[in-house]
């Protein structure tokens, strides 16, 4: 298939792996930022093709994972209200709050709907003026433009029964928090390709200089990821720390200006609590004051919900690249996608859930067979 198969070509993949082996002299720890990249690495077995000296650690870029438990509980509290239609992207439905997940609430009679675009919520709101339609606006910079567009249209068209529960997070402050930690192990990054399609590459130039770390903006297909790793390894081996763009077919330096304009006209930057990581200053979006009439937190007065995370879960350390899923005693035993204890197990793009889905919780002997 055009634009897909050519990025999954086994002969080209072998060639890049061979080049990585040729270039690499010392051990390196590289973090892929995006959950989509993590999923692709585990699904295609990319990490199992790499030389032993290249360790991939999995970053905080799964928006479902890092959505705080408080916000999930707020979404659930809103979904329980009479007369509410809660709309969400599909993968939020199985994420457990403190008590249950949205699927369970749906089975109890809550009107919970999966949408593919926030603009679909506006259609629902127009069709059901007797209902309050709430969109659970989760995501990184990638999904922000469409969510902003929904709020903007709602305001323009005077759709008063529509609101957003906003849980937007931003990548650069998270990367900055990881690199600024005294426990940091990460020596190079695969940057978030689709975030940069929207925001451009320039935000990462400052990080490269400040932390002297190579960042290669990369795509999501196997060859994108392998080429990105090769570019990071080349920089590390030659002592360079630069911003490079592997994903040239999609990312331009200045990003998508029109998308940025709609985002900044609807959202403003705010502090945000990340599940597993904790609060990171200036790391999220909230609605601007002129759009507060569409803020579900205000409309439904769910501001004071407090929650407590499992004390066993080490997802915060995993999201920062300090630990791997196998380092957790609960991984695959008391913590599974059916019964997740924390951030990295709740979504298919979380590192723990990806490891689990592709059988990496199974015993070592079986995994040895997988390596055959």
């Amino acid at each position: 298939m055009k634009y897909l198969d050519e990025y999954r070509d086994s002969r080209l993949a072998r060639g890049i792996v061979k080049e990585i082996r040729r270039v690499q002299r010392r051990p390196w720890v590289i973090m892929e930022v995006c959950g989509g990249q993590t999923h692709s690495i585990v699904k295609h077995g990319i990490d199992r093709l790499l030389p032993a000296g290249i360790e991939l650690v999995h970053g905080p870029g799964c928006p479902v994972c890092v959505t705080s438990l408080e916000l999930i509980d707020k979404a659930h509290a809103i979904a329980r209200r009479p007369g509410v239609i809660l709309c969400s992207f599909g993968d939020m439905l199985r994420v457990p709050g403190s008590e249950c997940d949205l699927f369970t609430l749906k089975s109890r009679g809550a009107d919970v709907r999966v949408v593919y675009s926030p603009l679909d919520c506006l259609k629902i709101a127009r069709a059901r003026p007797d209902k309050k339609v709430v969109f659970f606006a989760v995501g990184f910079e990638t999904t922000a433009p469409a969510n902003a567009m929904a709020a903007w249209h709602a305001k323009q068209q005077g759709i008063e029964n529509f609101s957003l529960l906003v849980s937007h997070v931003l990548v650069p402050p998270a990367v900055s928090a990881i690199l600024g930690s005294p426990h940091n192990r990460v020596q190079g990054f695969l940057g978030p390709g689709h975030v940069c399609v929207i925001m451009g590459a320039h935000e990462y130039e400052e990080l490269v200089v400040r932390f002297r770390v190579p960042i290669v903006i990369a795509g999501f297909e196997p060859l994108d990821i392998l080429e990105g790793i090769l570019m990071v390894v080349r920089q590390l081996e030659s002592g360079r720390a630069e911003l490079e763009n592997q994903y040239v077919r999609a990312v331009q330096r200045e990003g998508n200006r029109a998308a940025q304009r709609i985002v900044t006209s609807v959202f403003e930057v705010c502090d945000r609590k990340w599940r597993g990581v904790g609060p990171i200053p200036q790391s999220g979006y909230r609605l601007r004051p002129e759009f507060r009439a569409f803020d579900a937190e205000e409309i439904f007065k769910v501001g004071d919900i407090a929650t407590r995370e499992s004390p066993v879960c080490i997802s915060g350390l995993i999201l920062q690249g300090i630990k791997k899923p196998h380092d957790c005693p609960a991984f695959g035993t008391s913590c599974t996608p059916q019964n997740p204890l924390g951030a990295t197990m709740v979504s298919a793009e979380g590192a723990c859930a990806a490891y689990y889905a592709y059988g990496r919780h199974l015993k070592d002997a079986d995994n040895a067979a997988a390596l055959k």
């Binding site: 298939m1 093709l49 199985r94 089975s107 196997p222 769910v302 889905a357």
Partner: protein, 354 residues
């Protein structure tokens, strides 16, 4: 829950998530939740040697004959979709469940649950396509029932079809008969039916229509059995849960491992594109006109050639083999040369955010 959260419509749900207190949609997914439903509720209630085999049909002896017996309910939305409709599906689905035991399907029964307000023209259309599908497959619909429920208590039409077929050979075909060395054959492309439904249901406008592959497979089964006879160990139609779930079930029931080649799988471009957009894995997407055959290696070539000669098997291929190592586990060599494990899904596949 805080006081500020207002009146609670639905109460709280402290039960562990792995065993939901209510039926959730995932119980109908064909994945782990469905297996859990059967193990916890169905088997304890009715356990007997025929049911306990958990094949798609029961094979029961009656007066010296071996009869295959099965039932299946169809609740698809929308009723009409590219490549078929609920009526055709209801006939073909039950025929296929019979055929996977090697039976010749003979008679069907159909129960229709109609929702108040259903246009009779829609009913007529569904019945017409049931008749056409039954005629094409040379089976007779010999009995049935109709019920009407209040508006809102059903979804237009639910159809349950029950079928009887006769087994006219002494072959043993069952999900527990895969043996190391056997080849895994697949009759064509995967994911067509599931993505045809999803693209209609979600109003996704993809370039190029995705058509359901609904088809009655007993003719293809007959061709395979003629060619490879007792070398055919397992036949299954990978419907809900897709080939991933079905192969995992076979590996578990037979206590064997499997090794698949991703490069051998055929996924049509439209299906692949839709799956990529929604973040779904075609391995777990439903098929309604495909079969998996597990055949002893020395006769696999003959089985494959016979499939190629049949209309519904022109794109058949060998996608992997059964191994003695890693029992109950399905491994797949990925297109780029890595490896992954193909596990059963917990519930329904969920579209991803980005």
């Amino acid at each position: 829950m805080s006081d500020a959260s207002g009146p609670e419509m639905l109460g709280s749900c402290p039960v562990p998530l792995s065993h939901p207190e209510q039926i959730v949609l995932g119980h109908g997914s064909g994945g782990k939740l469905t297996a859990d439903l059967i193990q916890r509720f169905i088997l304890p209630a009715f356990s007997n040697p025929y049911l306990d085999r958990l094949d798609d049909q029961a094979v029961v002896p009656i007066n010296g004959s071996q009869l295959a017996f099965t039932t299946d309910s169809f609740v698809v939305t929308p009723l009409f979709f590219p490549g078929g409709d609920i009526g055709e599906l209801a006939i073909n689905g039950t025929i296929n469940d019979l055929a996977m035991s090697g039976a010749r399907p003979l008679y069907l029964a159909a129960a229709l649950i109609l929702e108040e307000g259903l246009p009779t023209s829609d009913l007529q259309r569904v019945l017409d396509s049931m008749r056409a599908a039954a005629q094409k497959a040379a089976v007779l619909l010999v009995t049935g029932d109709t019920k009407v429920v209040n508006r809102g208590k059903g979804d237009q039409i639910f159809i349950t079809t029950t079928g009887i077929g006769v087994i006219e050979h002494a072959l043993q075909i069952s999900a527990d008969r895969a043996r190391p060395g056997d080849k895994v054959l697949l009759s064509g492309s995967i994911g067509d039916h599931g993505m045809a439904i999803m693209s209609q249901r979600e109003g996704l406008e993809f370039e190029g229509t995705i058509e359901s592959d609904t088809a009655a497979l007993h003719g293809l089964v007959d061709a395979i059995l003629q060619a490879a006879g007792d070398a055919v160990h397992v036949l299954r139609d990978p419907t809900r849960g897709g080939i991933g779930t079905t192969l995992h079930e076979i590996a578990s029931r037979s206590q064997v491992g499997m090794e698949l080649q991703e490069s051998a799988l055929l996924v049509r471009d439209t299906v692949k594109g839709a799956c990529e957009i929604l973040g779904l894995d075609p391995l777990y997407v439903a098929n309604e006109g495909k079969l998996l055959a597990i055949v002893a290696a020395d006769r696999a070539g003959e089985a494959l050639a016979a499939m190629h000669r049949h209309d519904l098997g022109r794109e058949a291929r060998i996608i992997g083999e059964v191994v003695a190592e890693h029992p109950r586990m399905v491994l797949m060599k990925t297109g780029i040369g890595g490896s992954r494990i193909v596990d059963t899904l917990y519930g329904e596949q969920l579209p991803r955010i980005c």
